[in-house]
Each structure stands twice: as C-alpha cells, then as structure tokens.
Symmetry: C2
Subunit: 350 residues, 2 copies
C-alpha cells in the first residue's frame, strides 16, 4: 500500500501564522524521509480553518526541497480561478518537480469563499466543467485554440511552459455520488474519497468505482483511488486521545461552520473563537469515540493497523493522512508519522 | 552599490524547455553565492520570448533553496490576474521566504497576451490601478472590506496568509514618463527603470524621480530605484561579442515582435523562427555596437565597470542584470556573473 499526507495549515492562534506554516512544511520533509509517497495540499481562503490559499505556490516551494515525494493539491477549487492560470501554475510545478505533480480539482463547498469572491455558488458545477475542459486542452493541444465558454473566452490560446508528464499531470476528483463517480471513470480521472465517509462507505465507494471503470471499458487500477483519513497514533490509546482530540475537534467544528449555509453562520471564524463557539455549542456536536470507531484513524499502532487492514480488505491501496489539524503540536505530528512508518507501514508492503 | 538579476527563461529551441528552466534556476543559486542581492523574475505568457508564466510559483521554489537573496517579480502583470489571488500568492512567497519578496507590478505591453486572454488592452491602466488598490487594502486592512470596482467585486474580503513584511512587500513600478514617476513618488512605491533606455536617459529619470520624491514631501533613498540592464562580460571584448550577440539579438527581435501591434505581426513566434525572421529582416534591425555604447553592458570587466561608473555618477545605486537571453549557454552566463562579481563588484562597494 501507499501512504501520503493530506495536508493543511490551520490558524487557531492568529498570532502563530508563520510558525504553523514552518511546522507544516517541516512535516512534509520528515514524511518524505520516512517513506510517505505524496503530499496533498488543501486550498482554502479567507478563514482560519485553512490558510493555504496559494497551494501551487506552496508546492513550488516543496518542489525544490524534496526529491521523491509526489506533490499534489486536494483540491484546487476550479471555480475560483482562471483556468489558463491554473494550467500555467500546474505545468510550472510539474516542471520544477520533474514530473511529480498530481492535480486534485474540485467545485468548492464553502459558502463564505464563494460569497467573498462574489461567485454564485450555483455556478460551481458548470465552472468546474468548463475549467477542466480548458486546462486539458491547453496542456495537450499542439495548435492554438479558441475557447468561447459561459465563463471564459480565450483566443489563439497556447500555454507555456508545458507540463513534463504526458499528456498532463494526473487529475484527481473528489466524489461520493454514483453519477459523479461514473463521470470520473468515463473521463479517465482518478478518485479522491473524502475523509468524512465511514469505513463502510469507503468500501462501498471503491466497489462502485471499480464497477464504473469496468463499465467505461477500462481495467481497474486500485492506485487510482486515494482515501483521505484523519490519523494520529501514539503508544497508548489514552495518549492518542489526549494529544489529538482537542485540535481535531477544532478542525471539525470550524469546518462545519465554514461549510454551513449562511443562515447558520455568524462571522467566519472571528478571532475570539471561544466566544463564538459557545453560541454554536448546542447545535454542533461530534462524538470522538464514535468517529474513532467508524471514520478516523486514532489510537495505538495496533488499533490504527486494524482499521487500515479493514480498508485494505475493501480494496483500498492508497491512503492520505490528515495529521496537521487545529494547531496540534508539530513534534507530536512528526512522532505520530514516525510511529506509523515504523510500526504499521511494514505490515502493508504488498 | 547593489547588483541583482533581472531574470527570464526564453525558448529559442522548443525542445529544450526543461533544460532552460534548470539552467536559469541554477544561475540564481550561483548568483546568491557570488553576492548578488536579488532576482527579479519576468512574467510572460504564450510565446517563446518568455516562458515564466507563473513567476510567483517560481519564486516559491526559489524561497526554499535560497536564504539571503531578495525574491522579486519584474513585473507581475496586474491586468491579467485576480488581485486577491496575487495578494494571496505574494503573501505566501513573502512568508515562505521569511520576508524576502519585492513585488514589481505593471500594466503589460504585449498585444498577444491581451488578445489571447481576451482582455481589452485599453483597459490596462484602469485594471492596474484597481488591482493595486485591492491588493494593498487586502494586505493591510484589519477588518473585512467590500470592493465594488469596474472589473472586480468582493464582499467582506479578508486575505490569508498575511505577508511577513510590514505593512506589505515593497511595490515596484516600471515607468518612464514624468506623470508616471510622479504617481510612483506620491504613492511611496519604488521605481524600476527599463533596460531599453540609454545611459543618458537613465540619468535623466533618476534626477526626475528624485525631484518627484521631494515634491511628494519625502526624503529620496537611491535604493528605491532599480535599473535593469542587459549584461555580459568576458576576458576580451571580442569574446563577449561572440558569446552574447546572437542570443541577445534573438531576445531583441522576438521582444520587438511580441510587443508590436497586430498589423505588424504574423504568428506569435512560430516554431520555424528562421523563416519568420526573414519576413521581418528588412524592418527590424538592431545595431549591436551602437547599443553597447549607449544601452547595454557588454564587454570586458573594465568596459562594463566604466559604464557602471557612469550610472553611479548619475545617482544609480542598484542595477539588475538581464543575463539569460536567447538560449545563451548557461556556463557562459555563470562565468560572466562570476567575472563581474570578482572583477567589477569590488569597485562599487560604497
């Protein structure tokens, strides 16, 4: 199996932006040394829930400091960008990394991001589709092309530099519904499975996608599916819980809020977060133990291995770990990555 | 005095994209070792005249591999970008480099770039002004702000991450006319002087800008002016000419063509460049010897030093060298940078 990072920078303490970034980037270098195969940077804007707003710029940085790890976005939110500029930036990262880019793309889901950028959220799907068409054409066409879309117009278009990978960096799309998975299979894209699904749902998704790829007339390669999972491992269950629960809950509750429709939201994560939380405390609850059983990989190496094995049996060959949430102490993240690499990874070499 | 690189990647041989990039980036690392203070990456799109289309992504890469050299754009073409995304990318590079970003900004001048992006060229100045206003506000405001402009609308806007430098990375603007220089002085921006001006014109610009800064009620700091110059030095005048003339002329003629209005242009640098050149040969001529006398820094270290001294006497304290043109052999560029650093730089330590 392959294991990577599903990586983010969050800002629980507004004064520690620079330190959080340094920590997150150091974790990537450490992960590469430990044998993790990839890092998937999230893109978020305008809130402390996620402060990597220029994910391809960050991957450019990592391109120079790493040599083997795949560099990826999960995901680049296409409705927010000029597709030609994403094509240029992605090609540049691919070139700077000697062909190590995987490009995850998505429609976006945060009401606040669409609102602030003044982009109607109900255009997200059409914007996504138009952008992916333009980008694919820009990377692969030999001749200049015209594009007349609903959202973008380009004339005699040609993009430079060209990506290193042929025909272009692999595209990864997050999806949960059967219709979306069919579309991924038909286009030859790859599947990202969200970290919020239960282990049972993950198994169902992989089985469905395998069938959809067959329907599309292709052989199924299990490495075209990446499953995102929150992960933390420590020598004892109690320590894992003590170290990880609070920061993970900061991630969960802030994520719930930035993803919520406007009528449920107040300000978008104001600095006085504690006061804000109290207003929402009655409505938003997560049961950590229940999640540990059904969704997340928190516990001793044995406990984590048992759940990885469960996913492996369901056909999962590739997992990316969300490990840097809610301002969790960086040394603990690095220790957890090391403990997984030494105690769990060796059991999943097949 | 300070000396830096005004840096570009060009693509005379379409098959050598990756090598040209590697060479250009290696030159930057070498320049840092030799004591050059900054690298200013150009932004160009869609033609082999310049293939750094994602200049802030490239600076992200360099942020990880350098430690002292200032990282800069010269220039980021504001009319082509969403100003919020430039604010985010610039803040990210500033953060990744621990506050080493200088952001050069401009209006753009290539007809082909505007045409392909379907942006009316006559909007360039207004787009430039609106973008610089939005970016400055996004970096510096404490409170979310609304923006209703001619080209962009944003609601409750807040940008993360924040730049490291206070109040934001220095802004540099290219200008030649008195009115533009007045505006730069009044806004507290910094001045980029183009590489095409003669030494005499450079002196006139510096004198005018110094006056304009005084008119704006500020003390003039000569380090707020950077002069771009093509440079190549070798042990003999003949060798300098033999090594540099042809690649520099490739840069000059292709630059003339991409900058030309549509009625004078054919295709935008087709792959069969030689055939294309023949059609233009009668109209486009550059006199290398005349330019060497009046504009560019090509020759022995003594010859180059004499022209640097001329600029120093005219009040110039900071020069950025355009050294990587037209596919010139990378080892020659590195040797030239080293020769300048060892033979010329020591004479200009004041």
């Amino acid at each position: 199996m392959k294991f990577g990072l599903f990586h983010s920078v969050q800002l629980p303490d507004p004064a520690r932006q620079n330190q959080y970034y340094r920590d997150a980037l150091e974790q990537v270098l450490w992960a590469e040394q430990l044998g993790y195969d990839s890092v998937w940077m999230t893109e978020h804007h305008f809130s402390r829930h996620g402060i990597v707003s220029a994910s391809l710029t960050v991957l450019g940085y990592l391109a120079g400091l790493t040599s083997t790890i795949r560099l990826a976005t999960a995901v680049t939110v296409l409705p927010f960008h000029n597709p030609i500029q994403i094509a240029e930036e992605a090609a540049t990262v691919d070139l700077l990394s000697n062909g190590r880019l995987d490009l995850g793309v998505g429609r976006g889901y945060q009401w606040g991001e669409f609102h602030k950028l003044n982009i109607p959220m109900d255009e997200a799907d059409r914007r996504f589709q138009e952008s992916i068409d333009v980008m694919t054409r820009a990377w692969t066409t030999e001749e200049p092309f015209d594009h007349r879309g609903d959202f973008w117009t380009f004339n005699d278009m040609t993009v430079l530099p060209k990506p290193v990978q042929e025909p272009h960096p692999p595209l990864w799309v997050a999806a949960a519904s059967p219709g979306s998975m069919d579309r991924i299979a038909q286009n030859g894209w790859n599947l990202l499975v969200g970290q919020g699904l239960t282990f049972d749902q993950v198994g169902e998704q992989v089985a469905y996608f395998k069938g959809a790829v067959g329907e599309a007339g292709q052989d199924f390669d299990p490495y075209t599916v990446k499953v995102a999972r929150a992960m933390y491992t420590a020598p004892t269950h109690q320590q894992a819980r003590d170290d990880a629960e609070q920061p993970f809950m900061w991630f969960k509750t802030t994520g719930d809020e930035v993803g919520a429709p406007p009528e449920r939201r107040g300000d978008l994560l104001p600095e006085n977060y504690q006061a804000y939380r109290r207003r929402f405390a009655a409505e938003t609850t997560f049961d950590f133990d229940d999640m540990s059983e059904k969704v997340i990989l928190f516990g001793t190496p044995d406990e984590v291995a048992e759940r990885v094995e469960r996913m492996r049996k369901a056909g999962v060959k590739s997992i990316i770990f969300f490990t840097n949430y809610g301002g969790i102490e960086s040394q603990k993240v690095k220790d957890s990555l090391e403990l997984f690499a030494t105690e769990v990874m060796p059991h999943f070499q097949d």
